[in-house]
């Protein structure tokens, strides 16, 4: 009885306020923007960095600080998942789904493809859409497929978590080192020290490629660690 009553109390207020909120946004929204935005500055930025993908040039060079913070946010999330989903409630072993030849076959076929896609997205992030985050996440999700087909334990044996953990933090330190090295050399912090190279080549775009690879590896490991913990605590809700 309290259940339905409280919902009935909330309902009019909710509809009224949310409707008014949407209406306020919709009515006061002014589409008459400033006219043509200044795109040329970003094209110049991309030329300076030597990257063809303008978004990468902004993301990993002009606004690198945002990206560093974002990598930290992701690491904090991985660490939080690991810290709060610890040994308690963990299943002894997690069985793979039986009678899944189709699944197994598809995972055998799909896994290399997905991993390849992840690597491609990461490495070519400065030349085409993609980048470390999407590449790492795609490859990490591919491992989930393998974990479902082969059983999480057999995948986990191949990716030792204690080693992964160190690699993860080492990569993060590398990222900070790379970002801070310019400050140590007396330049403005977060300045890209590598030359832009010839746009269009794989080895171009200054440090963007390096950042993409480091972030890709970090996100790949982080994704797997997270998924592994969720598998071990499956069905808790």
């Amino acid at each position: 009885m309290t259940r339905s009553a409280s919902r009935i109390r909330l309902l009019p207020a909710a509809i009224l306020l949310v409707g008014a909120f949407c209406a306020a946004l919709w009515l006061t929204f002014d589409y008459a923007g400033p006219g043509e935005p200044d795109i040329a500055r970003w094209i110049d930025t991309a030329h300076t960095t030597g990257s063809i993908n303008v978004v990468s040039a902004i993301y990993l060079n002009a606004r690198l600080f945002d990206t560093l913070l974002e990598v930290l946010v992701f690491s904090v999330a991985v660490l939080g998942v690991r810290f709060y989903l610890d040994e308690r409630g963990r299943r002894e072993s997690v069985e793979s789904i039986p009678e899944s030849h189709v699944l197994r076959l598809s995972s055998d076929l799909l896994l290399p493809l997905i991993l390849l896609l992840g690597i491609y997205l990461t490495v070519y992030g400065h030349l085409s859409p993609g980048g470390g985050f999407s590449g790492g996440a795609a490859a990490g999700t591919g491992l989930l497929l393998a974990a479902i087909a082969l059983g999480a334990d057999s995948v986990a044996q191949r990716f030792h978590e204690s080693i992964l953990e160190r690699v993860e933090w080492a990569i993060l330190l590398c990222v900070f080192f790379l970002a801070g090295i310019s400050a140590a050399l007396g330049r403005t912090p977060l300045t890209d020290l590598l030359p832009p190279g010839t746009p269009g080549r794989l080895a171009s775009g200054g440090s963007i490629l390096l950042y993409n690879i480091l972030i890709g590896a970090k996100v790949f490991i982080g994704t797997w660690v997270m998924i592994h913990h969720f598998i071990q605590h499956r069905g808790e809700i």
């Binding site: 309290t2 996440a137 989930l144 809700i237």
Partner: protein, 263 residues
Amino acid sequence: MIGLTILLVLLPVLAAAALTQRRRSSAIIAMGLFSFTLAGTYFLLQAPDVAITESAIGAALVTSIYVLAIRKTGRITVVASEAPGLLQREADRITGLEWEILERVARTAGLDLSLNFAPNEDVIDAVRRGDADVAAGGVLSADCGDGILGTGPHLPTARYAVRGPRWAGPSDPRAGPLRGYFSDIVETVRSRGPLCVVLDLARFLALSRYDLSAYDVEQLEGSHGYTFGVSAAREDLHRHFAEELARMRESGELDRMIARYFP
């Protein structure tokens, strides 16, 4: 352009569908579909980077961790409403007669148990929808049927109507079963609020520890028994229940257990 419009119309539809689903798993799947549609929209809005990131992280990764968190293979999911003596939470433990039986069944079946408390009127519904395998916590044999297999009464019970002061609602409590949580009713009785409800024996015993002098109490006719309601899709589980209950009855263990909880 037309493709974009179609996707843009599809987005709110999918979102509304996701958030109005009764079943959690359908809500999560619908949300995954929404995210993929969103990725397609980004692609058509000249944002390929965003589209790729959204489909890899927003759609694939988020959906998979949510699915993993609610995945139910290899476990019996029980939905119950609290019933003192039968099934209740004490600090961080679950106790009660039905819980012990459930633990035994799970052990013989080699499955893990997971329990979710729900308001009383939702319990049977959740099993019927397929959100849970077993309904417990004061389910009466009369509640079963239509997609729910009863396991046969393991404890006889009676029904009591409790009608309180200043009750302004319909006067016949037999109109509906207990709604909401039992703790709400305890709260109402403690504050001597208006009340009109039908309770089974276990809950009535727990309630009569409080002062019921302000309320009319009437024992209703008919004989009833507690049972578990197993989803009709889980006949294997139903068999396990029947075998385990028969074994416990034979060895007299069931009676000893009952005596422990209801002296």
